[in-house]
């Protein structure tokens, strides 16, 4: 079911996210977080829907704590949209699909 969602880690973050040609939506999540689980199918749908336009990635904050630390993340799920290696937008919490799509719309 993970479709087109790319799993990134502290090691691959720079190459896959910061140096990506496409804008990137990164879902910072953990296995113990209920709202992360609630939002997961929405993130997967978006990865299919925006295929070729936005790269959709997930980063597990337990396995890769360095990157969330760098971005001051202290709540999950946090969705950060990166464009040209910079943070373009940030959403915290299990928001609706249309809310995320609005943010993606501004990015494209």
């Amino acid at each position: 079911m993970s479709g087109s969602v790319l799993q990134v880690t502290d090691d691959t973050f720079e190459a896959e996210v910061l140096k990506s040609d496409l804008p990137v939506l990164v879902d910072f999540w953990a296995s113990w977080c209920g709202p992360c689980r609630a939002i997961a199918p929405v993130v997967e749908e978006l990865s299919e829907q925006y295929l070729g336009k936005v790269k959709v990635a997930k980063l597990n904050v337990d396995e890769s704590p360095k990157t969330p630390g760098q971005y001051g993340i202290r709540a999950i799920p946090t969705l950060i949209m990166f464009k040209g290696g910079q943070v373009a937008d940030q959403i915290t919490g299990a928001v609706s699909k249309s809310h995320i799509e609005q943010a993606l719309g501004k990015l494209l």
């Binding site: 953990a30 113990w32 977080c33 209920g34 709202p35 992360c36 689980r37 609630a38 939002i39 997961a40 199918p41 929405v42 749908e45 001051g72 993340i73 202290r74 709540a75 999950i76 799920p77 946090t78 940030q90 915290t92 919490g93 299990a94 609706s96 699909k97 249309s98």
Partner: protein, 307 residues
């Protein structure tokens, strides 16, 4: 456009139990959920008061069981977001992100979301020290100091949960006693890491762009004096706000937006029912939501038979 017997909006304990009962009654039922099923139970680390689970059950497991139980009897679940409800004669038209769905009867099991404090700094530091879910964000506060706001069951439970990670938890409550049940009050009182600041109200959450939350400013409601508490996180557990915006104007609601019903859970629209945390009621609990889901499904069944 095909017409369904029953459309249930929301996939928490109320919606999934309504779905279970409707599926067992062989009603042509569709449940709509904007995220994955589970509702606020997913934010609960450990449920201690679900009858029959003597040792308790994790929120994840319980929500999976609710979903699987309804699916077993053939409930259809669809992932869409609902934006509105209107009547065309007797028919109910539900507007969704993927078009309109027509139903003979509707159950609103919309759930609720944590209420905001409404003080300066809260929105600014959301996700950067301000949190509404201890289970989700507690692990970010290992050996830190956190402030929790509230005095009900959720506040008492979550303050206690946060002591697994934080070295100190201040529990700030407006009144001079908790509203939480006695077992939870005793647990808070016995916890050496929790200090309750009685009769205090929040004024502001303050911090910096670099570090996020650094302190909260409080007012002592008895003396009127202001004080600051240095902390790394501010957790808000002051009750819930119903997710009822999509039916505003369609059904009668109370001043806080909770949906008003009669004793059979029928709203101001005939054939439209409300169940669970979105309903105006005295107690918001999984067992109550679940019971209301069953009652709403049965009331809807009776309504369908009367058509």
């Amino acid at each position: 456009m095909s017409e369904r017997d029953l459309v249930i909006i929301g996939g928490g304990p109320a919606g999934l139990t309504a779905g279970l009962y409707a599926a067992r009654a062989k009603l042509d039922t569709l449940l709509l959920e904007r995220l994955s099923p589970g509702g606020q139970v997913l934010n609960t680390h450990w449920v201690e008061n679900w009858p029959g689970d003597v040792e308790g059950v994790s929120g994840f497991d319980l929500s999976d069981r609710f979903r699987d139980h309804a699916l077993k009897f053939g409930l259809e679940i669809k992932s869409v977001e609902v934006s509105g409800l209107r009547m065309e004669g007797e028919r109910k038209i539900v507007s969704t992100s993927e078009g309109e769905i027509t139903a003979k009867a509707v159950i609103l099991a919309l759930g609720a979301s944590p209420s905001k404090l409404g003080v300066p700094g809260e929105a600014e530091f959301a996700g950067r020290g301000v949190s509404y879910c201890g289970t989700c964000d507690g692990p970010f506060f290992r050996d830190k100091v956190v402030v929790a706001f509230g005095g009900g069951n959720t506040a008492a439970e979550e303050a206690h949960f946060l002591t697994r990670f934080a070295k100190k938890v201040y529990l700030v409550h407006r009144r001079d006693q908790l509203r939480a049940c006695a077992v939870l009050c005793e647990r808070v009182a016995a916890d050496p890491k929790i200090e309750v600041l009685w009769s205090h109200a929040p004024l502001a959450i303050e911090g910096s762009a670099l570090l996020g939350v650094e302190k909260v400013r409080l007012k002592d409601l008895k003396t009127g004096q202001e004080k600051e508490v240095a902390c790394d996180g501010a957790f808000v557990f002051i009750g819930t706000t119903p997710n009822s915006a999509c039916v505003a104007g369609a059904v009668d609601r109370d001043e806080q937006g909770f949906i008003l019903t009669n004793q059979n859970l029928e709203t101001s629209l005939p054939g439209v029912y409300a169940a669970g945390d979105c309903r105006s009621s005295l107690l918001k609990q999984i067992v109550v939501a679940s019971g209301e889901g069953a009652l709403a499904a049965y009331a809807a069944q009776r309504y369908l038979e009367s058509l």
